[in-house]
Symmetry: C2
Subunit: 415 residues, 2 copies
């Protein structure tokens, strides 16, 4: 039996027991996991140091190195994250709805854990702890498969929180990491239908694509965001300036950052030179349509590819549109259904945009950067779903649950 299969079998067994563990015990385990992270931090830093050294040998980028690096304050953040999750309301056991049918059967729909959650993710080792915490809170067993770059950190973290959780009364093997770094192990995990109830990939577009193409287990697609801000003919232009700058520059490397600016032709002449000059001052590279180029000399020409690109960088494509219809059609064609914003004072334009744009989050007069579990006030986030099944947009605890019907009878049979 392969490692992955073995992890699957053990996880299933743990999940069976976890489903009826009380909230009290789960919260106790989350605090024990937090305590253990702090107590064992030297062990974590040591393991992380080994990853950092391998990273240096492999000459990985400084951005990647930064994501990989753990230090005392990052460990404290992870521990605090677990305590924050402990403080959230447990969604398991909620009676979502219930009713009685004419023959007297009492039908209740009850929230239950998903069972076994698998996570495949890239460099940041904190995902190991965050994901484990959210899964434990919701009564799921979790199988973690992080980046091979962070393998030592991930295995050390897993060992520490797993040991702490079982000492606090959780079933053995509730939290497991795949130790095999070979790609085959990830592929096997994606096809482990017998044991895995859902797989959540977190990472760049190519990881997500691989998972979608390979997985036979149910997947929640997360993350890719080619987001637009549309400045309408009736926009408050100083508000539009603030929002475009925030959506592009506040943190350009994340999925809810804006990648294309659409501007209505009626305000292009007034708005574009201003925003372009401001963005250039912030070192943003611009790729414009011919109209943009004629209004803002020196802007590079945008190609078809630019309209499709999630730059995740200080780069922005800019296009002048003739109408709200053209803006909606452009987003419809090139968007990835993540986060889309309109800046307008016009009621009808706002209404049409929110109704016709098909995306996880549609904004009127606000930055796309708000698409986030924390910003939405959900208290936690396991990822941002860009698919339409199960959960869409920022996913918190509820997205890690399913329901079952519990039906109470008095001897009813079907006629």
């Amino acid at each position: 039996m392969s490692e992955v299969q073995e992890l699957g079998e053990k996880a299933k067994e743990a999940a069976f027991k976890l489903a009826s563990i009380s909230t009290e015990v789960k919260n106790g385990a989350l605090h024990a996991m937090a305590d253990a992270l702090l107590k064992e931090s030297s062990k974590i830093l040591e393991a992380n140091q080994r990853d950092i050294e391998v990273g240096r040998e492999k000459k990985i980028s400084s951005a990647l190195m930064d994501r990989l690096l753990l230090n005392t304050s990052r460990i404290e953040e992870m521990a605090q994250g677990l305590r924050d999750v402990a403080a959230l309301k447990d969604p398991v056991g909620e009676i979502v709805r219930g009713w009685r049918v004419p023959n007297g059967l009492l039908i209740t729909q009850v929230r239950v854990p998903l069972g076994v959650v698998a996570m495949i993710y890239e460099a940041r080792p904190n995902v190991t702890v965050d994901a484990a915490g959210l899964c434990i809170k919701t009564g799921n067993a979790v199988i973690l498969r992080g980046s091979s770059l962070a393998i030592n950190s991930n295995l050390a973290l897993t060992e520490i929180i797993s040991d702490a959780s079982t000492s606090a009364g959780l079933p053995e093997n509730s939290i497991q990491s795949v130790s095999t770094t070979a790609r085959e192990a990830a592929t096997e995990l994606m096809k482990l239908n017998e044991y895995v109830d859902v797989l959540i990939p977190r990472g760049g577009a190519s990881l997500i694509r691989t998972v979608i193409e390979t997985a036979t287990v149910p997947v929640i697609e997360t993350g890719v965001g080619n987001c637009h801000v549309y400045v309408d003919a009736d926009a408050n232009l100083s508000m539009a300036m603030k929002i475009v700058i925030n959506a592009k520059c506040q943190r350009p490397g994340v999925c809810n950052a804006a990648e294309t600016l659409l501007v209505h032709k009626d305000v292009a002449e007034e708005f574009l030179p201003k925003i372009v000059s401001d963005l250039r001052g912030r070192e943003v590279i611009l790729y414009g349509c011919p109209k943009t180029q004629s209004l803002c000399p020196g802007v590079e020409a945008a190609s078809e590819k630019d309209w499709h690109t999630e730059y995740l960088d200080l780069k922005l494509a800019v296009k002048v549109v003739d109408s709200l219809d053209e803006a909606i059609a452009h987003i419809q064609k090139y968007g990835t259904k993540h986060s889309e914003a309109i800046i307008t004072r016009n009621y009808d334009a706002a209404r049409r945009f929110t109704e016709e744009i098909d995306a996880a989050a549609v904004y009127v007069n606000a930055s796309t950067r708000f698409t986030d579990g924390g910003q939405f006030g959900m208290g936690a986030e396991i990822g941002i779903s860009t698919q339409k099944l199960h959960a869409r947009g920022p996913m918190a605890l509820e997205a890690l649950t399913s329901t079952k019907f519990v039906v109470y009878g008095t001897g009813q049979v079907r006629q």
Copy 2:
């Protein structure tokens, strides 16, 4: 461009328009579709006759022939089904929840159509009309791929309801059927991620398995039911008789029929000879564990395979268990998480069974045969989900919707 790709592109375009069509227009279309079925029934019967003839040449079973056959009363049922769906509440546009966050952003979660729904299904041509009706009601475009055995019936039905729907104001191509019967067309549909938002297979275990293994689009798994009835030590045995007989015999060919009977050892001696004799009177073939065989001479021996089998027939596996724990463990091991029942008067046993059994529907003192959208009072059913994502158990209109966040701001940017 292949037929399937073309259908996908057209469906996407239709879905875009359908999302903002009013409930009034959708309901009008459903009635127009019903009228057209009745008006064009001779055309439908003619097409069906061609399928029946091909079926005869191919010597398909009489059960299959019955599923394939259309007649006036079946056409009337389909038409009535569409009118019933028109009478249901439209879930699209519902504000599922909403709240304001500290910075003043008003966050609303709104119910929206899924977009493009693909259905792959086996013989019964009525699924063509039922599925189209439910998809139209929920604002989805639908691509139908029925069995090649019913191809003439399905294409005739699709043409009639599609024409009626566009005459009533729905976008062109809201309802389409794949006319290519080659298996490759189905495979292509399963991988049409650019256009298909969800694929719902309806049919036997082997169809479902093929879809799970092949599809790259999100799938809702339906249907396979290896369901158990457990007669506890504290059962009311006359109630248990009624329920076991109903769960096995009322309609043995469906997924919520019972396939294995588990009996607590304390009541086996009293209960088993009675139920076995009654079931034999109803021509049920029994496969028993050694204990069952010793109590009921002449019962065939059950093999490991029997515990796994969804007979969909007048066959039942029978096992005596030592305890509730053994019953739960057996169901945990062999069940398909569809519908499971306990017959008991014991509060603790009922509580443990409902909590520990992981299935779409768990019953106390009622037949498993109730797992059905109609029986649950949902007014409609597109299938019974046996997976844990998105929808679980009988799926009605809501399962054909997603949500999006619509966020109203006044210039907020992220700090």
